[in-house]
Symmetry: C2
Subunit: 478 residues, 2 copies
């Protein structure tokens, strides 16, 4: 197997022949059973490294009677090795600042410090060693090669460069790939207009960002009189949100930019986070099992579900020595399948990508609903104006679902009839999806706030009640 | 001389002994005359490279009868080689997009694309080759070593990662230095509070940003109940603004953070832009002449002024093959001196740093005034609240200078007397500096808008008149 060692030892001058579909033909197309054998052996080594260098893992495993040397099978791994959660990582860093008791290399080897954006509570710091950073770059270059990008491509990274790992990881991959990296960033006021202008001037072939931002950028470009199709982009790869695997969203981005869209991305903690990612021939995401070992698990038992079933991904690093994650629960939701893939890679596949989080799911009249499913349905509705809000309320005994949906200008042309048709179309599609009636409020395009990062579309009913309450109370005052 | 070749060929495993004051003892402390001889030889090679690979340079030099092979002396260089301006670079890129006729390497060698932020007109794109990027990283690591930073230091880069070259260059240097790089960025809403919290948690030893941002960050931290001195920073290095060489500003930052402040930075086009930068023992900036050859010139003749005189820096790359800049006029203003330096480096020195731009200077009653001088005077005034505006108007025949100056809360305690004392103090200092009376309006701290990038403090009088006019007209309406 090509460059399959622990610790990783990649040769940065290695490139496959330009016409090769695979970066590492053997690692990518070997029989799944042979790979699983190799993974088991690697898991022993990774676990031994963690056991020796991390009080965090040693204590947990001693408590439950697991020792890396006794690891017998992948079933044994899921039986004996407890999952870890982001909360436990945070606690370990509070106890042992700044990098926690799971830093498994000397501090002198660390070259990069990143972290979670930490909107609530103490954020988590990521410490990445020089050699691991190089392994991340190699893994990402390899996945990007599989999408079709090649040395010499100019790749624009249009996501904020700060605590968000997405942009840094995309950049590392593009550098190792031998691309011309154009790290434009995002997030500061006025940047989207300039990004559109620069794309128009520089004509990069590759683009990385979030799906929400790509849609926002297309609108910004159009409002500046620029046609995003004329940017000449060929490859657009995304992470941070489910969008790029949702047919409605994916098709819309592909249509707006005339480029091929790829979905990617597990978790910042799991960098190389492109361990789940699509390829030129295979939609959705492949689980690149020889980079990070993914188990799609039942959220209660934390045992793997059968292929064809839904579950939450549990990830284990196979090529990280600094802060290796061993059975980190993502809390995301996906469906995995096995069997032949169009690209010939012998990895399990997430055909719908990662379509939500356990936390995002809401239950309405007994139905489990993921916001990404509503997003997908609206994006397939003709006349959809690009943004919506989902308002859930419980005024009486029954849940109420209100959708506030933007429609394009032409919907408003026919003196109310177009709006009524659009409203009926939306309601029909949502009824088909969720099996329940919904009230749709139709808004003009541009009414709802846009974000240049990740969309937040579900409105907590209690917040709405508070606002309504405040409004009612303020109405009685002058 | 250590690693003195063209094209540059640095060994990335090289480090001086930890106790060495110099990264390259020979290059940094050799007799200036011997260095000039080496520079002359290098100029021949750089010019030959540009002549051979760039229609832009070849045409200009053919027109004026200069050929690199005939370069005899540094005097001959300044006599015969015409300066280039940013405007000409922009025009060349318009004519030959995207990188202009001065790209002197094949496009396949480019690894990074950056650009000017281009607030007006067509922005300029920077194309940097892989080998040049490595040379930039080596140059910056070397300068940062001279400031005192060492492998293992954690360095927080707190400036926007986008088209601004400052952050990327600081990061490249920190990486090559073997530091733990913490690329926090800046510029998006809400980032300053989080930056303060992260500095408090992570305790990096090094910090890069703009002086304006450091002051803003200190205020933000204090308003969050955090003491910037407790961040434990040891080294703070700056570019993008004159502040770090202005005693009032430098002392204020050093006092707020309890760290040593360093000034650095020529121009983005000149990356490695740390070619002018201070050292642990030497305040202001050294001209690291073996990285970039700096001539401080008379803005009219474009010949070097004598040491001890003011002029505008004209820069020439000695270690860049992609888009090498040969006699690029900065438009900045500085004063250079020679003679022994406290650190023992035999470079010319800019004791006051780069204190303004020709464009920034304004003339009031016949006096040339640089906004940075007013900034310096106010920063030395006890009770100064941290922000000000300079309003110039010409209501009658005479120019009027109005300063809007913030004062700290204690100034307002004594029922008007404190304010009057502060106002008189400001007026006295400005009179001493500029030789003219000024009207000072005293404002409460926090009244004026803050920026998290570079301060813009001079208000165009016509704008003020327009606003006043609009106000007067609107007053007659209901």
């Amino acid at each position: 197997m090509e460059f399959w060692s622990f610790p990783p030892a990649y040769d940065n001058t290695y490139f496959p022949p330009p016409e090769s579909r695979y970066w590492f033909p053997q690692r990518e197309t070997m029989a799944a059973s042979a790979r699983e054998k190799a993974i088991l052996d690697r898991l022993r080594r990774v676990c031994r490294h963690a056991y020796e260098h991390s009080a965090f893992y040693r204590r947990r495993w001693n408590d439950c009677g697991f020792h890396p040397d006794h690891l017998r099978s992948l079933e044994h791994f899921e039986d004996k090795v407890p999952v870890i959660t982001k909360k436990e990582l945070r606690e370990s860093q509070t106890k042992s600042p700044p990098f926690g008791e799971y830093l498994c290399v000397p501090e002198s080897e660390i070259c990069r410090v990143h972290g979670t954006s930490g909107t609530t509570g103490r954020p988590t710091a990521f410490a990445i060693s020089r050699n691991d950073w190089n392994a991340i770059a190699n893994a990402h270059a390899r996945v990007m090669w599989g999408m079709g990008m090649r040395p010499g491509d100019m790749i624009c990274v249009a996501a904020i460069f700060s605590l968000y790992m997405g942009s840094w990881g995309a950049m590392a991959g593009a550098e190792r790939l031998g691309a011309k990296v154009f790290p434009f960033g995002a997030g500061a006021p006025g940047m989207s207009i300039r990004c559109a202008q620069w794309l128009h001037t520089m004509r990069p072939t590759g683009f990385y960002g979030t799906p929400t931002y790509a849609l926002h950028l297309a609108q910004t470009a159009q409002s500046e009189g620029l046609n995003p199709r004329e940017f000449g982009l060929k490859y657009m790869f995304f992470s941070g949100e489910p969008g790029a695997s949702i047919p409605g969203v994916r098709n819309r981005i592909e249509d707006l930019f005339g480029a091929k869209v790829f979905d990617a991305g597990s978790m910042a903690e799991m960098s190389p986070w492109m361990n789940v990612a699509g390829s030129a021939q295979t939609e959705g995401m492949l689980c690149w099992q020889d980079i990070v070992y993914t188990e799609v698990c039942d959220p209660k038992s934390m045992h793997r579900v059968a292929y064809g079933q839904r579950g939450t991904p549990v990830y284990t690093h196979l090529e990280r020595t600094s802060q290796p994650m061993i059975r980190l629960v993502s809390g995301d939701l996906t469906l995995w399948v096995d069997g032949p893939t169009p690209c010939g890679r012998t990895y399990p596949r997430l055909p719908q990508g990662i379509f939500g989080r356990i936390d995002d799911m809401f239950t309405i009249r007994g139905e489990n609903v993921y916001p990404s499913e509503i997003d997908a349905a609206l994006n397939e509705t003709p006349g959809y104006g690009g943004e919506h809000q989902i308002v859930i309320s419980r005024e009486a005994a029954m849940d109420e679902l209100l959708l506030r949906v933007e429609a394009n200008a032409e919907i408003f042309l026919e003196d109310g009839q177009g709006v009524e048709r659009f409203r009926a179309d939306v309601s029909r599609r949502i009824q088909k999806l969720l099996g329940l009636r919904t009230t749709a409020e139709i808004l003009r395009k541009g009414t709802l706030p846009r974000t240049d990062f990740k969309a937040r579309r579900v409105i907590d009913d209690r917040a709405v009640f508070r606002e309504m309450h405040a409004q009612v109370n303020s109405d009685v005052l002058p």
